[in-house]
Subunit: 486 residues, 2 copies
């Protein structure tokens, strides 16, 4: 006779089954953080790989049981984490999630609704509709039918923006892979390119995210035309020249919150240039988008609503565990190319009978309800609470910049626009700057990023932790100074 | 003065902050399941949308606080769930997650490692390497350097399989979008198609998953050539004819566990045909892959290791919350086309200094450590425990088939191969079958799927709940019989 299967997470008994297991997870998270004792483990990749390898067999013949497995692996993960909740872990757009958002995420895992059909996610899909509609209206407040899709992050959002643009200019030969019966691949049809019109050209600044290059490659489009951005932002005159020199159709991708410097492209002027050239504008606001929640800083995003598509990540300046990406469109009909049918998920007669068709809401099929944690966060904090978190991190960046300016041994690249601060030791060359970063990293003392700007390599602090204190900022400075002098 | 920011999930204080919030989540999960009182809420989409809309503002000016927000939204999600932990929720490859896997997933959310660079995920990336290496060796046991990527599910895995095949046949003009400096989009270069060779043609059975059609469309490839599968599986002779008639290069996609009928294509014979034609073989074992853990049923997958790429989802017959997808490759060098560089994540000098380069492990950038829950499950249950869960569900399917055969009013489509059982009332037409499914759905009594086979529409039960009892199976039969007679 077989042993009873281990308990499930769902149903009425699920909550009781989860309780002791979550106790073990919390104990292990705490023990791991204490064991680590800093922003990341010391010793670098080799030490971490060595400790991980000593955990034992990945797939033993006989299991160790839930309690042992949870305690061992969760503690190892925590002890070996670069934990963004530590203020000295400030390299990337890698946010420290709010406890309430992480707690909400547990419910997504326990209930496991899958967003590809209504009969796998009745309330989860209804909730997603409410939240995406509300957030789309924040991004395109004047539009009559704004909409937004939930994505795995800025990379997927940017890819979708290119895909939608590709299809707008493809002459309507096909949409979403079309419909075929049986939930299965249907009759083959060869894709034809409309004649007399070139492929879509994506035009981006050199300051744009690497995902545009990768998306164009994935989608079989020509590589993006890259406009140099010596000042860190996309210049409208340079864009005008690029659009004049490159045959269309064009999709221009501007950035509100560049990865390296946290800068915002001049959106209104770029929108004007796009309008003059008949080019579509996409704005990658993965980083800067949540400024919309701040009464103080919202004006920095003026012009955002002139974009046809907008990328926003709430797992950056929105304190969500990954993933919490969005792609917003000014008009919901722009999403039509994603329409896709598979009889087992959205047969015509089911759709006619009123079952919502969810398959066109993502290029994925099975899809976790990442919207739940976002919904809980928006409701718990409200606009005021979220705006305050944004404002706090914006202030921290100004504070760090002040302190760097007052430190003779350090150079500040520029006053921060968002929450990214670039700085470097006054007399260091690029090799030294890169080495300082790695030294802090492998000694387990700080996680700082790196960015090239103005032809030089800089240390990068991305401040996303609203609990960081002035002392933490001083400590970052002291650590860099100390590494320089050795 | 601003209020103190809400607590974070990470660090030493994170565990204490999470404890009461998780208490609220568990209370709400239980209350929601009790309120629902069945596999899904009654009333259909309209009732669910109505209840969801009454929850109040998505983004209030002032927040309601963590406790209220968690209790309200999690209870609404649970009350409005189609909960796969209820044995009468058996429509899709929509698994009831194990409590231990959902608990592990919390740690992923709380620590929020992002798998795109080592300095965001030291231990998480080391753990992923261990687990993917071990699972790849299960899938391609004879290969010297098997490897596997973690994906968002079968859809992304199948898309990657097509992408890798596209690049193998693209003449080496580019890889992964190439390298450019600054972590940013680099110089534009137009992608050229190699001359004298047609584009990759994907060849699939009509029984294949719809994601192949969508992937070809996304990647700018011709739509797949579809080989009819009147018996539900891909016939080697028919494949031979298709490969003879279609100019190459070819990628053949076979299926181990079809979505509609749970059938397994004859892998060894198909591999022979592919070898004879010089075609690459991909196997979509999203559903059937975990048979590898069962001593009893593993032989059903003979031939799987002859595939160049294999899709496996552990969020189906592996009891993981979504997502837990894998794409396995026979040789790790096959992943080279995904190589991608962005200076802020994997600058050459950092890589030379020993920092692992993770960007080629996924088309995503930010990426949640979905591997943690899988690692915990493999360790806790071991091969024996996982195999026993597979065997239990396989037995349940045979048991349901037995009971249907003994029910005069019902027809069984065929003896199940995996855990999918197709049946229909003896005298019903397709319209009635579809209506029975919708009636059970909107009355909140059962979630059954639908599938077309042999030219007719069938009700589909996908048995993935190892806690289902003989009584549950009888109840499913009784519900369908009852709906027929009304």
């Amino acid at each position: 006779m077989r042993a009873a299967p281990p308990p499930l997470a769902g149903g009425v008994p699920g909550a009781d089954a989860l309780r002791p297991l979550l106790g073990a997870v919390l104990d292990a998270l705490r023990a791991g953080a204490e064991e680590r004792g800093g922003p990341l483990p010391a010793g670098g990749p080799e030490a971490v790989a060595h400790r991980t390898a000593r955990l034992g067999a990945v797939l033993p013949e006989t299991g160790t049981g839930p309690d042992e497995a949870l305690r061992t692996l969760v503690q190892a993960l925590a002890a070996g984490a670069a934990d963004p909740a530590d203020p000295l872990c400030a390299a990337h757009l890698h946010t420290p999630p709010l406890a309430l958002a992480a707690a909400a995420d547990l419910a997504a895992s326990a209930l496991n609704p899958s967003m590809d059909s209504w009969d796998q996610a009745p309330a989860a899909s209804a909730l997603e509709t409410l939240v995406t509609t509300a957030l789309a209206a924040e991004i395109h407040p004047g539009a009559p039918h704004p909409d937004a899709l939930v994505t795995t992050g800025g990379t997927e959002s940017n890819q979708l923006a290119l895909l939608l643009a590709r299809e707008r200019h493809a002459g309507g030969h096909h949409a979403g892979g079309g419909h075929t019966g049986g939930g299965h691949t249907g009759k083959g049809h060869t894709r034809e390119r409309p004649t007399g019109k070139g492929p879509l050209r994506t035009v981006v600044g050199a300051n744009a995210h690497h995902s545009f290059r990768r998306a164009a490659w994935l989608l079989g489009l020509p590589a993006p035309v890259v406009v140099p951005t010596p000042r860190g932002v996309l210049d409208p005159t340079a864009l005008h020249t690029a659009l004049t020199d490159t045959p269309g159709p064009h999709l221009v991708a501007a950035t509100a919150g560049t990865t390296d410097e946290g800068l915002i492209d001049p959106l209104p002027a770029l929108a004007d240039v796009c309008a003059a050239h008949g080019a579509d504008l996409h704005v990658d606001a993965a980083y800067g988008g949540p400024l919309l929640f701040s009464r103080t800083h919202r004006p920095l995003l003026d012009g955002l609503d002139r974009a046809r598509t907008v990328t926003v990540d709430l797992h950056k300046l929105g304190w969500q565990p990954a993933a919490a990406g969005l792609l917003a469109v000014r008009d919901t009909t722009d999403l039509a190319p994603l329409a896709h049918t598979a009889d087992y998920l959205n047969a015509d007669d089911d759709t006619d009978a009123g079952l919502p068709d969810l398959l066109g809401r993502s290029p994925r099929t099975t899809r976790r309800p990442d919207v739940l944690k976002t919904a809980v966060t928006l409701r718990a904090l409200g606009r005021t609470g979220l705006g305050a978190l944004v404002d706090t991190c914006m202030d921290l960046a100004q504070d760090l910049a002040d302190r760097i300016e007052k430190t003779p041994a350090l150079d500040l690249r520029a006053r921060p626009v968002l929450t990214t601060v670039l700085f470097r030791p006054h007399h260091a060359d690029d090799t030294t700057v890169a080495a300082i970063r790695r030294t802090l990293l492998t000694s387990g003392r700080a996680v700082l990023g790196r960015a090239r700007a103005d032809g030089r390599l800089w240390l990068k602090a991305t401040l996303l932790n609203p609990h960081a204190t002035p002392d933490d900022l001083d400590q970052l400075i002291t650590l860099v100074e100390g590494s320089t002098h050795r």
